[in-house]
C-alpha cells in the first residue's frame, strides 16, 4: 500500500518534471543546445507570477494566461539576441553564454525578490484531494499531470502534423539541407525556443502552486529536466515524458526509504540508465 502510494505520488511528480523536460528535449533535438538557464527561467517566471498575483489579486488561471505569452516572448527574444549567435557544432559557446546568463539571472532574482521561498496562492486548490481506496491523491498534482500529458500530446502532434513541425524536424535532421529547401533556420529556431520557454510558463505556475520557489532553485530544475530527457531517450517528446515519470517514481520511492535519499535515488537511476542503456529507454540505439 505504502509503495503503491509512492508509485502514484511519483507519477504525479513526474507530471511536474515533464513540464520542464519537454522544452529541453525540443531545444536539444533541434539545435543541439542545452540552455543552462532553463531552470532559472522557470523560477523567474514563477516569481513574476507570484508578484503579479499579489499585486493584482489574481488567481492561478489568470496568472497562467499572463505568464505563458510572456514566456513565449522571453524565449523568442532569448533566441534572437543570444542563442542564434551561439548555435553551431561547437557546444562551448552556447554552454558558456547560457551559463553566464544563468548566474546573472539567479543573482538578479536574488536582488529583486530576496532569497526567501515564496509560493502562489491557490485559493484552496492546493489542498483539495480525492480519496481512492484509502490513498489520497491531491487534485493539483492530478491537474499538473493532465496538463503535462496534454502538452506532450500537443507538442508531438505539432511536430508530426503541422508545417512548422515538419520544418522543425527537417532543421533538426540537417540544417543546411533545410535551408536549401527554403527554411530559414533562425526563424525556426526562434519559434522552437519560444515554444520551449512557453511550456515553462505552465511549469512556472504549477511549480509555484505545488511547492515553493526561491531564486537559487533553478539549477535543481535544470538537472531534473536533463535527467528526465536522458532517461527517456533523446529526440522524442514521449521519451521525455516517460523519463519524467521514471525520475518522479525513483525520487518518490527513494524518499519513502529515507527522506534524505529521494533526490539521490533519482540521480542513481539516471546513472544506472546511462550505464546500461545510454541511448535512453526509448532512444534508438
Amino acid at each position: 500500500m505504502q509503495w503503491l502510494d509512492a508509485l502514484i505520488q511519483g507519477v504525479l511528480l513526474g507530471g511536474m518534471y515533464a513540464q520542464y523536460a519537454l522544452g529541453m528535449a525540443l531545444m536539444f533535438g533541434v539545435m543541439r543546445i542545452v540552455n543552462i538557464s532553463h531552470g532559472d527561467l522557470v523560477i523567474l517566471l514563477s516569481l513574476i507570477g507570484i508578484s503579479l498575483a499579489s499585486a493584482f489579486g489574481l488567481g492561478p488561471l489568470p496568472v497562467l494566461v499572463a505568464l505563458v505569452p510572456l514566456a513565449v516572448l522571453i524565449g523568442f527574444v532569448l533566441q534572437k539576441t543570444v542563442l542564434n549567435r551561439v548555435v553551431g557544432n561547437d557546444p562551448l559557446p552556447s554552454l558558456i553564454a547560457t551559463f553566464g546568463l544563468s548566474i546573472a539571472l539567479q543573482n538578479l532574482m536574488l536582488q529583486i525578490w530576496s532569497a526567501n521561498s515564496r509560493s502562489l496562492p491557490g485559493y484552496g486548490l492546493e489542498s483539495r484531494s480525492i480519496e481512492i481506496g484509502g490513498i489520497y491523491i491531491g487534485l493539483l498534482p492530478v491537474i499538473v499531470l493532465a496538463v503535462a500529458t496534454g502538452l506532450t500530446w500537443g507538442l508531438d502532434l505539432m511536430l508530426k502534423r503541422t508545417r512548422f513541425g515538419r520544418a522543425l524536424r527537417a532543421a533538426a535532421a540537417d540544417v543546411e539541407a533545410a535551408a536549401m529547401t527554403g527554411i530559414d533556420p533562425r526563424a525556426v529556431y526562434a519559434l522552437a525556443t519560444a515554444a520551449a520557454v512557453g511550456i515553462l510558463g505552465f511549469a512556472a505556475v504549477f511549480q509555484a502552486l505545488r511547492s515553493t520557489v526561491a531564486p537559487a532553485d533553478g539549477p535543481a530544475q535544470l538537472i531534473y529536466a536533463f535527467e528526465a530527457v536522458i532517461i527517456g531517450g533523446m529526440g522524442s517528446v514521449w521519451g521525455a515524458f516517460i523519463g519524467s515519470m521514471v525520475l518522479g517514481i525513483s525520487q518518490a520511492i527513494g524518499f519513502r526509504i529515507d527522506p534524505g535519499f529521494g533526490v539521490l535515488a533519482g540521480h542513481i537511476v539516471f546513472l544506472f540508465v546511462l550505464a546500461t542503456r545510454p541511448q535512453g529507454l526509448f532512444g534508438r540505439a
Binding site: 536539444f28 543541439r32 543546445i33 542545452v34 543552462i36 543570444v82 549567435r85 551561439v86 557546444p91 562551448l92 559557446p93 552556447s94 554552454l95 558558456i96 553564454a97 551559463f99 553566464g100 546568463l101 544563468s102 548566474i103 546573472a104 539571472l105 539567479q106 543573482n107 538578479l108 536574488l110 536582488q111 539549477p219 535544470l222 538537472i223 536533463f226 535527467e227 536522458i230 533523446m234 529515507d258 534524505g260 535519499f261 533526490v263 539521490l264 540521480h267 542513481i268 539516471f270 546513472l271 546511462l274 550505464a275 545510454p278
Partner: protein, 350 residues
C-alpha cells in the same frame, strides 16, 4: 637556463632550426621561477593572513587551468570539477583526522580518491553528447555531495574539522602551506606547460582545432580525452585538498560548491581559453574584482554573469586572444618555429 633551440639536421634541406622558446617566453619563465621561489619563501616574508589569500589565489589558478585543459584542449566542458575537489578534501580529512595519518602526507594520498573516481565517471559521461556531458558532470558533483551528506564515515551533513593541525606550530603550518602552494602551481600550471610542449602537445592542439581531422591523422582522441579528464580530476583534487586543509573545516555544501565551476569558467573565458596566459590574466582580474566588488554580493555576480555571456557572444578568445592578435609575444610559447638563419622566421605551428 638552457637554450631550447635545436639544430634541424636533415640532409638536403636548408639549414633551418626549430626554435621552441622566444625572448618574451624567456622573460616570462624567469619571472615564473622567481614567483615560485617567492612562494616557497613565504613564511619568511609574508604574514599568515597574506599566505592565506595567496593560497586561495593559487587554488583559483590551479582549478582554472584544469578547466582550461578540459574545455580548451580536450573539448570536455565540465561544470562539475568541484566533485573532485570535494572528494580529495574529504579524503584528506578522513585520512588525517580519522586515521591519524600525517596530514601533509595525506594531502598526496588523498589524490588517489579523485583519480579512482574519475575513471568510472568518465566512462559513464563520455556517452553523453556535447552539452549533455556538461550537465552530467554537474549531476556527478551533486551525487558526491548527497552521498557525503548521507555518509557516516564523513560525519554526514555536519561536516568535519581538521583538528590534528593544532599539533603543528603556526610557523610549521605556514611552511607547509607555502610548499604546498608551490607544488600545486608546479603540478597544474607547470605540468600543463610541459604537457603542451611534449609530444602530446601537438596532438592536443590538433584536437582542440579539429577533433575529427585530428582523429583521421592518428590522434587517439578518445584516449587522450580520458587521460586529460583523469589528470584534471587529480589537479582539482590537489587544489581541493590544499584549500580545505587551510580552511580546517569541510562540509558537503562547501566541498562540492558549484561556485568553483563559475569561477573557473569566468577566469578562463574572460582571460582567454586555450592558453596559460589567459588563465593568469583571468585569475588576476577575478581576484582583484572579488576583493574590490565582492561586498556588493548579488550585483557583483550579475556583472560577472553578464561578462561571461558577453565573452561567449562577442569575444570568444577573451583578453589574451585580443592581445595575441596584436602582439606576437607569448609568455609560454608552445609552438615550434622554423628559423631560416638567412630570412628569419619562416613558419610556425601553434
Amino acid at each position: 637556463m638552457t637554450m631550447t633551440a635545436v639544430p634541424f639536421a636533415d640532409a638536403g634541406l636548408p639549414a633551418v632550426r626549430v626554435q621552441r622558446q622566444t625572448p618574451s617566453g624567456r622573460i616570462a619563465l624567469t619571472l615564473a621561477l622567481a614567483a615560485l621561489v617567492a612562494l616557497v619563501a613565504m613564511p619568511w616574508w609574508a604574514s599568515t593572513g597574506t599566505i592565506r589569500w595567496i593560497l586561495e589565489l593559487c587554488c583559483y589558478l590551479a582549478v582554472a587551468q584544469m578547466w582550461n585543459l578540459l574545455a580548451g584542449y580536450a573539448g570536455l566542458v565540465s561544470v562539475g570539477q568541484q566533485a573532485f575537489m570535494g572528494a580529495a578534501g574529504y579524503a584528506l580529512f578522513v585520512l588525517a583526522q580519522t586515521y591519524g595519518i600525517n596530514p601533509f602526507l595525506a594531502v598526496f594520498l588523498s589524490l588517489l580518491v579523485p583519480a579512482v573516481l574519475a575513471v568510472p565517471t568518465y566512462f559513464l559521461l563520455h556517452r553523453l553528447e556535447g552539452p549533455y556531458f556538461s550537465i552530467g558532470t554537474w549531476v556527478v558533483a551533486e551525487v558526491f555531495r548527497l552521498v557525503s551528506t548521507n555518509l557516516p564515515l564523513v560525519n554526514s551533513g555536519a561536516g568535519m574539522s581538521l583538528r590534528v593541525m593544532k599539533d603543528y606550530s603556526a610557523f610549521e603550518r605556514n611552511v607547509a602551506m607555502s610548499l604546498l602552494c608551490a607544488t600545486l602551481l608546479l603540478v597544474t600550471l607547470g605540468g600543463s606547460y610541459w604537457l603542451l610542449r611534449s609530444r602530446f602537445g601537438l596532438a592536443l592542439i590538433a584536437m582542440r582545432d579539429n577533433p575529427v581531422a585530428a582523429a583521421s591523422q592518428g590522434v587517439q582522441v578518445g584516449r587522450l580525452r580520458f587521460l586529460i579528464y583523469v589528470a584534471a580530476a587529480v589537479g582539482c583534487g590537489l587544489a581541493g585538498a590544499i584549500y580545505f586543509m587551510a580552511q580546517l573545516r569541510i562540509t558537503p555544501g562547501s566541498a562540492f560548491d558549484p561556485m568553483w565551476a563559475n569561477l573557473a569558467i569566468f577566469i578562463v573565458m574572460v582571460g582567454g581559453i586555450g592558453s596559460i596566459e589567459g588563465v593568469l590574466i583571468g585569475t588576476l582580474i577575478f581576484f582583484v574584482a572579488d576583493r574590490w566588488f565582492g561586498e556588493y554580493g548579488a550585483s557583483y555576480f550579475v556583472v560577472l554573469g553578464l561578462m561571461t555571456l558577453a565573452v561567449a557572444l562577442y569575444a570568444r578568445t577573451g583578453i589574451w586572444g585580443a592581445i595575441a592578435r596584436r602582439w606576437d609575444a607569448p609568455w609560454f610559447p608552445i609552438g615550434r618555429r622554423l628559423i631560416d638563419p638567412q630570412q628569419g622566421t619562416k613558419g610556425e605551428t601553434r
